[in-house]
Amino acid sequence: METKRLVFIAVGGQGNLLASRLLGEAALSMNIPTVVSEIHGMAQRGGIVESAVLMGDVTSPIVSGAEADVLIGFEPLETLRALGKCNGDTVVITNTHPLPPFTVAIGQGAYPSPEKSLELIGAKVGKLISFDGNAIAEEVGNPLSLNMVMLGALIGSGTIPVGAEEMKKVIAISTKKAFLESNLKAFDMGMAKAN
């Protein structure tokens, strides 16, 4: 099958490692060869956390510069920073809700305008799908479900051969009961944003 290289980029605590793991599980359940890479440790303390999912005829677990087929950004500044992973055909799916780093608060640099950022990204890549994922997570009553929103949008974008049903099955197995309904709702609403 065709190789798909996906990069997830987020701020520590936003749940991208869970999202990439669940995607890997769903792909495996469909017998799609998959490898996921993660970074643990120091970077997770409020820093940038990157993970990658590669599917198809590929064994390398990481994505080089310019080689992402899909970039899933959980925070607009970090999506912008990760553009080095993208080429002119890359599909970028990004949350638009800013999470300013503390360096901005102590006067070391300015947070770029989200509108301008989206405009810049949109002009450079193959396709840009953007929405306020935090608003959806709030709407379903589970602020931690942003990762489900982003997974939903990824599946909805039709860029990878993983189906919504398989993805939801994995979410159902891996989620605590109290959060299942809101997670699935977040997933569906994310999907609708990308359709």
Binding site: G24, R45, A105
Partner: protein
């Protein structure tokens, strides 16, 4: 039941590399596991810890890697299958027992997992621990994917028993922290005890014995060489005239590059999985049939140099290159694009790389370095010490979350090289300079290797202050226990060692135990150390809030908010503390109530008393 204990041979599951290693050990019937945690190895012992609660596996977090290897040596020499895990710099700590355990050998299979960290994702250096196999004459296996991590670990125990030697398995971050499909094998029963057969002329490495043992080690090494020639892990893939030699994570990049470039019929790949002792016969045969050879290995040019020497010995003239081809260097990890480009360039293959989008018109982006969490007690301790000692004081620090004190606005990390170095280097700084010295060390790191430095400081009459940041856990690597932890909430019984009693027992007279969120009292204690002529120790006790939350020990406090009517925008709160719960809304400081855990430090710092607990 723990997911690694499922009895489902043949089933394919998605496992983290480190989980695959743990599973492999269980499939070999491992009885005994020890470790000191360290990224990127920590998930192996985390799994063993939980598995030991529901099986006959003996597991312990040992005080440090040297201790872990020696505890493991006792078990393996007695006859139990034993695994010892650590990160690459941990093997430096364990290198003393390693070198002579190689002489003495083992009876039960012993596997040492060593996790290297090319690119220093979470380490102080990126040393290449393949050198340890050469230094110790011990066999080394290098898996390339999750399946091999499981299979090699399982088989390494048998190899270890056949040779009577510990076997080192070397992973890197890009193996330890990948997830991939693993087809499970059968679990073996766990042997719970052994009987040690005395044999002092094998086990007591005095000079007369060790002279013979060294000879014995070299004989075992020759046996290992024969095995590496035949083993399934060293193999030649393809029969083209262009040769590529690869190991570890980089093997995947080579495999993909050959496929992406469509040169499979022109290339043959020598994959080195049982990389030490090097399979010289296999390597020589491979070199003989090639027009030219590219060696793809991260970090040091170890295989490259060895193959060149072998070519010289065998009179083989095919060019052999590695470092210097394309972007291959001794620095950092490789990546698929870099390897593809180097392979294409070396063998002169047409290749058009993907073109990165133009990023020249992006605005300057503010950095997002990692930061101490909201409610982290280290922030309060740092603040208190800085209020008293200022910025000219030398602040040696150590390895843990608190190393983040390096970053502004805290900026209180002046020197760190390895675990425990804060205390001993503090001795040097205080003696060599006329500056004040305050060293910072975490509780787990203090037990790991800070105690000997403190003994040295007391004995040699050094004069500085040691701050032990006691957050009740090994926080950075994922909340493992250590000798100072109250383990009751975790459901295991371990004897807790009081840091205060230990420090007083060593003879420190100026000891202050503080609660860092009581800022005024903490500052008073810090002031007292400034006056004291000798070694002072401050033990700053407050649980890591993440650990407290994860173990049901978190005492919920009301989040705080900024009363904008009172706030005069001094911004001491945000400028001095840089708490991630604080942000600027226009020109005004606000607190994110979802992130604030109510530690109240900002409220104590605010000169206008404008930060108050939120009323529900």
């Amino acid at each position: 039941m723990h997911k690694l204990l499922i009895d489902a041979p043949g089933e394919e599951v998605l496992l983290l590399g480190n989980e695959a290693i743990a599973r492999g050990a269980l499939e070999a019937g491992v009885s005994f596991a020890t470790c000191y945690p360290g990224t990127p190895s920590s998930e192996i012992p985390e799994n063993f810890f939980r598995i030991s609660m529901e099986s006959d596996l003996y597991f312990e977090y040992s005080t440090n890697e040297k201790v872990a290897l020696e505890v493991g040596a006792g078990a393996a020499v007695a006859g139990l299958r034993t695994i010892v895990t650590m990160k690459h710099v941990g093997l430096n700590v364990a290198s003393d027992p390693l070198m002579t355990l190689a002489y003495v050998g083992v009876k039960g299979g012993m596997v040492i997992i060593n996790a290297d960290d090319p690119s220093l994702f979470s380490s102080q250096n990126e040393q290449d621990n393949r050198y340890y196999a050469r230094l110790s004459s011990l066999p080394m296996l290098e898996p390339t994917n999750t399946q091999e991590m499981k299979d090699m670990t399982a088989e390494a125990f048998g190899l270890s028993e056949e040779l009577g030697l510990p076997v080192i398995i070397r992973t890197t971050t890009r193996l330890a922290h990948i997830r991939g499909a693993v087809r499970l094998g059968e679990l073996k029963p766990i042997q719970t005890s052994a009987h040690f057969e005395k044999s002092p002329f094998h086990f007591v490495a005095v000079p007369a014995v060790a002279r013979n043992l060294h000879k014995l080690l070299l004989e075992k090494y020759d046996q290992a060489s024969e095995k590496s020639e035949q083993g399934p892990y060293n193999q030649v893939i393809g029969d083209g005239k262009w040769g590529i030699v690869a190991n570890g994570a980089a093997f995947n990049y080579v495999k993909d590059a050959v496929s992406d470039l469509g040169i499979g019929d022109k290339v043959s790949i020598l994959k080195l999985g049982f990389s030490w002792p090097m399979p010289k016969g296999l390597c020589a045969d491979f070199l003989k049939g090639r027009d030219k050879v590219l060696v793809v290995e991260e970090l040091e040019p170890i295989n490259e140099d060895a193959l060149r020497a072998l070519a010289q010995e065998k009179g083989i003239s095919a060019p052999i290159q590695g470092k210097g081809v394309g972007a291959f260097s001794r620095l950092y990890e490789y990546d698929p694009g870099m390897v593809r480009k180097a392979v294409a360039g070396y063998f002169d293959v047409d290749y058009e790389p993907s073109v990165v989008v133009n990023t020249s018109d992006l605005p300057a982006l503010p950095g997002r370095p990692p930061n101490l969490c909201a409610g982290c007690p280290h922030r309060a301790t740092y603040y208190a010490v800085k209020q008293v000692y200022g910025t000219d004081t030398v602040y040696p620090t150590d390895i843990g979350c608190y190393t983040l004190g390096l970053l502004p606005p805290i900026s209180m990390a002046d020197f760190v090289i390895c675990m425990g170095s804060s205390v001993s280097s503090g001795c040097g700084f205080s003696r060599a300079t006329d500056q004040k010295v305050v060293s910072f060390i975490g509780d787990s790191t203090f037990f790991h290797s800070g105690i000997t430095g403190l003994v040295n400081a007391i004995h040699n009459n050094h004069k500085f202050t040691l701050v032990i940041l006691d957050n009740g856990t090994t926080a950075m690597t994922g909340h493992q226990i250590h000798p100072g932890v109250d383990t009751t909430p975790l459901g295991v019984e371990r004897t807790r060692i009081s840091i205060e009693n230990l420090v007083r027992g060593l003879g420190v007279e100026d000891v202050h135990v503080v609660k860092p969120f009581k800022l005024k009292k903490t500052i008073e204690a810090v002031k007292a150390t400034m006056e004291y002529d000798g070694i002072s120790v401050i033990i700053s006790q407050e649980l890591c809030p993440l650990f407290a939350k994860a173990t049901g020990q978190f005492k919920k406090s009301k989040p705080f908010y900024v009363n904008q009517k009172k706030c005069k925008n001094h911004r001491d709160c945000i400028n001095l503390l840089a708490c991630p719960a604080m942000y600027l809304d226009g020109e005004q400081v606000e607190i994110d109530k979802n992130l604030c855990v109510g530690c109240s430090i900002c409220a104590q710092v605010c000169p206008e008393n404008a930060i108050l607990p939120l009323k529900e």
